[in-house]
Symmetry: none
Subunit: 421 residues, 2 copies
């Protein structure tokens, strides 16, 4: 079964917005065994919308449209779709109730254009949107289906996960068994990992495939099996375990567990506490760690010491250290980590100081130079150096990922082997 | 004149890669007065490539293809395009020289697949690629043109800027003028803004249009004009100023300036300093502020006081305050802001404490309740309450956006000029 994704909106065509919805939808569909034949981005005018629906139905049993369901005047997608399906617009009480409740909660008044949103095509199945006011819609054309969703990414995702996924699972039925196992790795690049495991991948049977999914400082290794037999699951697990054995040192988790989720899982096991002292990352590591629900179980806080004054006053870094070695140095991050550990009374303290860029580099310390230190129970505090790139935001993210990776290997005592399943 | 953009590659369809090339190309084309009729992402197989070229030429005078020109086995775009244009492949000496020089530089040996890259369609104009091994190509079909470029973003951009832009400027001549003005707003939803300005939008002449581009807590209002006369610029500016006047209180900047960039711009003007004291946002606001290069000009640091102990020890929040009113309260954020201001010796201190979720809510303080306070020069420190949603990460982002919006209005002294009607 295949699908066409259609995103509607001039803001995509003129490049004001990057279409991330299609990539997210594509990965979801692929994981359900649905091929994506094509992604189209079109103008929010009636004619291209009607044409796109017709063309999409010619090549695909499933069509996913995003965008153009908001309350303002420039959004005409709903009307165009209704026209294609010869629908009449009828007042939809449940949508009205959702919008009304939202307005009561925010203590605002509903306007004319919000009332407009309550009118829905009479032959659509309405897909509730818990994150916003515009619900999704499902239309049938014979055996084929068209799903329309708002373009706001978190609303689109919520509607897909709450309503559409189950419909697709039922529709695709048992024609194919698909099983994935993803090994989450950190600390080694795609090519170096590939060099280590290629000899195993070469033995994969045709129904098993391998994908390298790199991001900054970490790589997901996804082993996928697709077969008409349910035994594909055991086959995938067999090959995944062979791969894992070879790159065990770099594997920190499975199946899209984030670095920050793994940090929480492993520190919670030890009932330890942690704090950070951040300069160049400006609170980004603390943000990543606290993005996980319940992270207050171990995370105590952070001192973002962007200025040297704050490094001295709040972390107790010595003025001589800063004068002699500079803010970006082994000596400074060691004092920052010690200061953080003592002043926040934590088991683990992580300190970071670097040159995020684009300015501030020198021949000895080019942009991308980052020092970090970890004060860890039962060890002398150690410092490490990272060399990143020239892009400020990438350097901040890369540093956070590398540091979490380093911490995870300490927590897992990777010298002893680590295996969950 | 209009264009179709076609991106080739299964990695886009299955969501492994987000197609950022199209957005970049779209914005370039629009700035040259070229409409983008459609963006398509297709599979790197011969049949869809041939079909896409044919369809694109039906609707557009200009076709831009990216992707599928690399050395690996799964890239067949070049051959498919050559087939469409009935081209023979001939050895292209300049491309060979470029590739050879690159391999000498990196001290590597050219492989069979790299030699393959030196064969080019005999009826293509070759567009040199200074950033990589695969050059771009230009094909003519009568008056129409197809440009093919590699998918690696910085290679694609270099080829476009070095070779294609000039060709397009000559081709489009003076047939169309396009002008955009984007008003960046914060603190009011799309619908409420639309209600205020609809009466102005209703007077727009046909060559001027309006788009609402919402994100969390902020909305971009884009006014676009398109005409054969260069006076369209003044027309756009005229209508943009009418719109701005009506929603002035919410406008913090223009043309894609981020909230954090506006904060830096406005605080730098006053030569002030700022620090944050963050609980539920966990350092995210500090991260956003420090994502702007040079933010150390005003940003001193942050105390991420995730635990109550840190709130007391590092910010001086009183134990009685926490016991009586709770960590998420007006009283606590006021003491946090004061403590932050005094201990970090800054002009402006911002404090935040809330229930990001998904757990930790109560009937009195549901998930999404966020208190923040701003200690500001020449004012008593004031606290404000936000009611956000149920999603943890969205609440963190929403809070940061609302708070930056509030701060920007203080910095612009907009509170005085605010008209209620």
């Amino acid at each position: 079964m295949n699908a066409t994704i259609v995103t509607v909106g001039d803001e995509i065509l003129i490049g004001q917005v990057v279409d991330t919805n299609s990539a997210w939808l594509g990965s979801q569909l692929v994981s359900l065994g649905i091929d994506v034949a094509e992604i189209r981005s079109i103008s929010d005018k009636e004619e291209p919308i009607l044409e796109a629906i017709g063309t999409a139905f010619q090549q695909s049993a499933l069509v996913f449209m995003t965008g153009g369901l908001g309350p303002t005047k420039d959004d005409i997608t709903k009307k165009a779709i209704a026209k294609y399906f010869n629908a009449s617009m009828v007042f939809h009480e449940p949508t009205f109730e959702v919008i009304k409740a939202m307005f009561i909660r925010f203590n605002r008044t509903m306007s004319e254009s919000h009332m407009e949103q309550c009118y829905m095509p009479d032959n659509a199945v309405i897909l509730p949107n818990k994150m916003g006011t515009a619900p999704g819609m499902l239309f049938h054309q014979g055996e084929k289906m068209l799903f329309s969703m708002p373009g706001v990414p978190f609303e689109m995702k919520a509607i897909f996960e709450d309503n559409i996924k189950e419909i697709l699972i039922q529709k695709t039925g048992n024609t194919a068994f698909i099983h994935h196992r993803t090994l989450m790795t950190v600390g080694q690049g795609e090519t170096a990992l590939a060099d280590k495991i290629q000899y195993i991948v070469d033995t994969f049977p045709p129904q098993i495939s391998m994908a390298y999914l790199p991001s900054l400082g970490s790589v997901r290794l996804r082993i996928t099996g697709k077969s008409t037999s349910p035994s594909i699951k055991e086959e995938v697990e067999h090959y995944a375990s062979l791969v894992e054995k070879e790159v065990d040192y770099y594997v920190y988790g499975y199946d899209n567990e984030t670095l920050e989720a793994a940090v929480k899982r492993m520190i919670d096991q030890k009932k330890w506490t942690l704090a950070t002292a951040e300069s160049c990352t400006g609170g980004y590591l603390a943000h990543r760690l606290t993005s996980i629900p319940g992270s207050s179980s171990y995370f105590q806080g952070s001192i973002v010491s962007y200025s040297n004054t704050v490094k001295q006053n709040l972390l107790g870094v010595k003025a001589e250290t800063l004068a002699t070695f500079g803010a970006v140095s082994e000596e400074t991050v060691l004092e920052m980590a010690e200061g953080c550990k003592n002043r926040l009374h934590v088991d683990i303290a992580i300190s970071i100081s670097g040159i995020a860029g684009p300015d501030g580099g020198s021949p000895e310390k080019p942009v991308g130079t980052v020092w970090f230190a970890i004060a860890y129970p039962g060890e002398n505090t150690k410092a490490y150096k990272i060399t990143a790139s020239k892009d400020r935001l990438k350097n901040i993210e890369y540093a956070a990922n590398v540091i979490m990776g380093k911490l995870l290997r300490k927590l897992a005592a990777k010298e002893i082997s680590y295996r969950l399943s």
